[in-house]
């Protein structure tokens, strides 16, 4: 298996983020130059469609198809909004690109903008990514000085301006329309769809919203062509992929591997296996919103179709590994607390449901649960899924559903034995004391 790393090949080089390094070692901006000077926008969209590039942000939407939705004839300006908010728990892949290889992102932005006819691109970056912001801003400065960006992009009569906008730390601003509202200067609330951003996005203008990693793939497609690109990984969702492995492994980190790498290979070969010689208990394969996988389900290829067939999703490829000493009730409580905290509060089912779920799981973990609570959680989740503007409600319900489905015995044990063992160890005085209902 010959896989040449694309994103992380020179990660260890101290000046890998500079323009000179990028030009020298990556044939930097050759892809963008080729796109601007040799490709007609429509043909470029077809080429990206042919490459089967799928969005890396979570939904896995075909990128070329998304570009096709943008109206060709419009009086309004078109925008590109790069989603660099990366707020899904367990995800840290875009950060690597922006810190170590920001020019790859900028080159992708040029290609994307040329294909869709965009003159203004925004990068909405997570507020906590101070270092990445600095690197990115420096890279943009370099690009302007070198004539890569600006009035004449790479010598072509095509204006392109790139602006970096820092978020303020809300999970919901990583949802594409929530990000757009935040970028507009409003409270980051997701918008009603339709109209979809491709038709009516930023300031009611057609907007392409792309994940950092998706766009960073574009130079590679231009370099090797869609046919060769499709050879990397499975044909339906090909390409190099950054996997963020965290949790109970020996060597956690961002791993570059082709799409469709086996999950166990990822854990055992790339990350040195489960830590301290313990056994694997569960893996969340795609950020905390994905359905959890039981250890026995983990022999699965990490691509969009295979994981969907396994009843979960690739999502943002935030792989969270849990060893056999993890209390699943406590783990779920942690996830529920997150969604309760981060629900924007716009739609009723999510606003009230996330808080309710946390309260129920909290009750179970602290020894006040009842067996009926498991059915109640199931019902509350059922009443949240698919009934809200964005999918945060679904994201909160999926882990709750899957944790209880796959580790039901642990929940029952907690209910019958006065709480989670992990909570008991940490807060012995706050656990138990009979039913508090």
């Amino acid at each position: 298996m010959s896989f040449e790393k694309f994103f992380t090949k020179y990660l260890h080089e101290p000046d890998c983020h500079t323009l000179d390094f990028y030009k020298k070692n990556y044939q930097g901006y050759q892809g963008a130059r080729k796109a601007l000077h040799e490709w007609e926008p429509d043909a470029l969209i077809d080429e990206v469609k042919a490459s089967n590039l799928r969005g890396r942000g979570g939904a896995g939407f075909p990128t070329g198809v998304k570009w096709g939705f943008v109206p060709k004839k419009t009086d309004k300006p078109k925008y590109l909004a790069i989603n660099a908010d990366e707020s899904e728990p367990g995800t840290f892949k875009d950060r690597v690109i922006m810190e170590k290889n920001p020019h790859q992102l900028l080159e992708g932005i040029i290609i994307n903008s040329w294909a869709v006819g965009i003159h203004d691109a925004y990068i909405y970056i997570r507020g906590e990514y101070v270092f990445a912001t600095r690197r990115l801003e420096r890279a943009i400065e370099e690009a302007y000085q070198d004539g890569i960006l600006g009035e004449k992009t790479l010598g072509k009569d095509f204006r392109l301006d790139v602006t970096v906008h820092r978020g303020a730390g809300a999970y919901i601003c990583g949802e594409e329309t929530g990000m757009l509202t935040s970028l507009e200067g409003e409270r980051g609330l997701p918008k009603l769809k339709p109209p979809f951003p491709a038709v009516e996005g930023l300031w009611h203008c057609p907007t392409v919203v792309q994940n950092v990693e998706t766009v960073a793939n574009l130079p590679l497609i231009l370099e090797i062509g869609s046919a060769a690109y499709k050879q990397i990984g499975p044909e339906a969702s090909p390409g190099p992929k950054l996997y963020c492995v965290s949790g109970h492994v020996e060597r956690p980190g961002t791993i570059e591997a082709p799409m469709g790498v086996n999950l166990l290979t990822l854990i055992n070969e790339h990350c040195g296996g489960v830590w301290k010689g313990r056994k694997l208990k569960a893996v969340i394969p795609g950020g905390s919103s994905a359905h959890v996988l039981h250890a026995r389900e983990c022999d699965v290829a990490m691509d969009i179709e295979s994981l969907a067939a396994a009843g979960t999703m690739l999502g943002s490829a935030g792989v969270i590994v849990m060893d056999d000493q993890t209390c699943m009730v406590n783990a779920l409580l942690n996830i529920m607390r997150f969604y309760h905290h981060e629900s924007c509060g716009q739609c009723t089912p999510c606003r009230e449901g996330t808080g309710w779920l946390e309260k129920i799981v909290h009750r179970i973990a602290y020894g006040h649960g009842q067996l009926e609570d498991l059915a109640l959680i199931d019902s509350v989740c059922d009443r949240m899924v698919g009934k809200t503007i964005c999918v945060l409600a679904d994201a909160a319900a999926f882990p709750a559903w899957s944790f209880i489905e796959k580790f039901r015995d642990e929940f029952v044990h907690c209910i019958e034995h006065g709480g989670s063992p992990e909570v008991k160890k940490r807060h012995p005085k706050r656990v138990g004391g009979g039913l508090r209902v």
Partner: protein, 548 residues
């Protein structure tokens, strides 16, 4: 991909509503279209006057276009769409939203001012589960003052954002916002910027629950005990449609009624809170003759005898009648009749100075003209009644030509200029229909209590030439002399000018027979939203002096 927003209202869309084939113009939302077929879908965040937020989720219905339920307030109808409002999916969706809405709601209806007109109560009754499965502690949110007139009970808030959108879109002042996230989120103001705009009171009306509470009405009355009268606000020439809500004969609050041509769904705070003068200390409540209280009969007989002896060549000398723009068209008609039957009578009008005209981003306007029925009085008594005829009467008063002066001073806030008050005071014998005592009633030989705008029965014409009904919140018969119209007729009977007293509707019938603009109109045939008075539309009358 066809553009779902493309809508041609000319095009008719055929769709199925609960299995029944129906049709509507293209571009309508499912909610609006269903309503046009008398299928009511519940809502919290939807308001016809505001943009669609789609956040309450209770209007979800099942369609054949989506596996998930869709919100009917934002989803538009299209050819071949099948909508189920009573299917299991639709019913459980509504049911679940109601359960979610109530888990952190305090359910303090017994002490909540909204109880009785609360949308949450209504929907809980019709669509909600009969008990909650929520056993945890409820969240606590702030209860505080948002502005001089408005408080928030945060625990009751369901974050529908109607109030936030109102301040953004209609008043344009954007004082309100939602703070915090998730189930902690609640409506609030920015620090140090209270909600204090001329339309602020409307946020209380559009709040579907009791979160926003008007200080003015707080703990004043239970909704279901109050008597509700459809009337008009007399604060300016806009003629906003209001509902006067009263308890035991005391007005408790005014709330707007919807009228798309006049005030949409709103009224201004100036009009909303301006009913305290009804109980003002200087309100004239009894008839008085030369400073001593007399009964109504004596007062009416006195005035009748004065009228009887007035006129050309009669002992009493010339009669002057000074009308105010608060008279209803019917009252003005009677006044016109007196003037016509007593030759030589000098008739003129007075009105208060124009105030500040205001218009708002949501197309709501407050008229600069503070007279509610100037156009109506002009339509009955002539275009110049407040202009050259008024000036002529003032000159006649100054010249001592007028022996007896009949004054209508129904001004809730008399702010008339001194030249008028001194002219009125110069009349040798003066009878005044006065709402409040003041310079006009001082030294008057005869003072009769005038009725306030909320105590009148009849019609007014607003600044746009819209004829609308004004009704008294006091039941007819509650007092013998309910309003000026009855007093006037009693006086006219005494003076031999009329043979019997008639109802306002009957007088309007006479009016419609004799005055061209009113031809063909009647109280009963008047649409609920009023009708334009021919020849008195805004354009024909010209500048109202409030181009703002």
């Amino acid at each position: 991909m066809s553009d779902p927003q493309a809508s041609d209202p000319q095009k008719v869309v055929h769709w199925l509503l609960d299995g029944k084939p129906v049709e509507n113009p293209a571009g309508m939302t499912i909610y609006e279209a269903a309503r046009s077929h008398d299928v009511e879908i519940p809502n919290f965040c939807y308001h016809p006057g505001l943009t669609i937020a789609g956040n309450c989720r209770i209007c979800m219905v099942e369609t054949n276009r989506s596996k998930k339920p869709v919100i009917s307030c934002s989803e538009r109808i299209s050819e071949g769409l099948e909508v189920q409002t009573q299917s299991e999916m639709a019913v459980t969706s509504r049911n679940s939203v109601m359960e979610f809405q109530l888990i952190n709601h305090p359910l303090d209806c017994p002490v909540c001012d909204k109880a009785g007109e609360c949308v949450l109560q209504d929907h809980s009754f019709s669509h909600g589960p009969d008990r909650s499965r929520f056993v945890e502690d409820k969240n606590i949110r702030h209860t505080k003052e948002l502005g001089p007139t408005i408080d928030i009970w945060g625990n009751r808030c369901i974050v529908c954002t109607r109030c936030v959108r109102f301040c953004d879109e209609i008043s344009g002042s954007s004082e309100l916002c939602v703070v915090e996230r998730g189930d902690r989120s609640v409506v609030d103001i920015f620090p140090g910027v209270p909600i204090d705009n001329p339309l602020a009171g409307n946020v209380v009306d559009i709040c579907p629950v009791g979160a926003l509470i008007s200080n003015d009405f707080k703990f004043e009355a239970r909704i279901w005990n109050m008597k509700k009268t459809d009337s008009l606000c007399g604060g300016c020439a806009r003629g906003c449609n209001v509902e006067v809500q009263s308890l035991d004969g005391f007005v408790k609050r005014l709330v707007p009624r919807e009228n798309p041509q006049v005030n949409q769904w709103w009224i201004c705070d100036e009009g909303r809170y301006d009913y305290r003068y009804l109980l003002a200390n200087d309100r004239v409540t009894e008839c008085s003759l030369d400073g001593t209280t007399v009964d109504d009969r004596t007062a009416h007989e006195t005035l009748a005898s004065w009228l009887g002896e007035s006129g050309l060549g009669k002992a009493g000398g010339t009669l002057g009648i000074l009308v105010d723009p608060y008279l209803t068209c019917e009252e003005a008609f009677l006044v016109g009749e007196i003037a016509a039957k007593l030759p030589g009578t000098i008739l003129g009008g007075w009105r208060s100075a124009d105030g500040l005209a205001q218009s708002f981003p949501g197309h709501f306007t407050i008229s600069g003209e503070k007279s509610p029925n100037r156009l109506g009085v002009e339509a009955v008594l002539g275009r110049e009644v407040f202009g050259s005829e008024g000036a002529a009467l003032r000159a006649a008063l100054a010249g001592g030509e007028v022996a007896t002066l009949l004054v209508f001073a129904g001004f809730p806030h008399p702010d008339l200029d001194d030249s008028w008050t001194s002219a009125v005071a110069s009349a040798p014998r003066r009878a005044v229909f006065a709402l409040r005592s003041g310079p006009t009633t001082e030294g008057a030989a005869l003072v009769l209590p005038g009725s306030s705008p909320f105590e009148k029965e009849g019609t007014w014409v607003n600044e746009d030439g819209f004829l609308q009904r004004v009704r008294s919140y006091i039941a007819p018969g509650a007092t013998e002399w309910g309003h000026d119209l009855q007093r006037l007729q009693a006086v006219m009977r005494g003076a031999g000018l009329r043979s019997k007293s008639l109802s306002p509707a009957a007088i309007f019938r006479e009016l419609s027979e004799s005055k061209t603009p009113f031809a063909g109109l009647s109280h009963t045939a008047l649409p609920p939203h009023g009708a334009p008075l021919p020849g008195f539309s805004r354009v024909a009358v010209g500048s109202e002096g409030n181009a703002g």
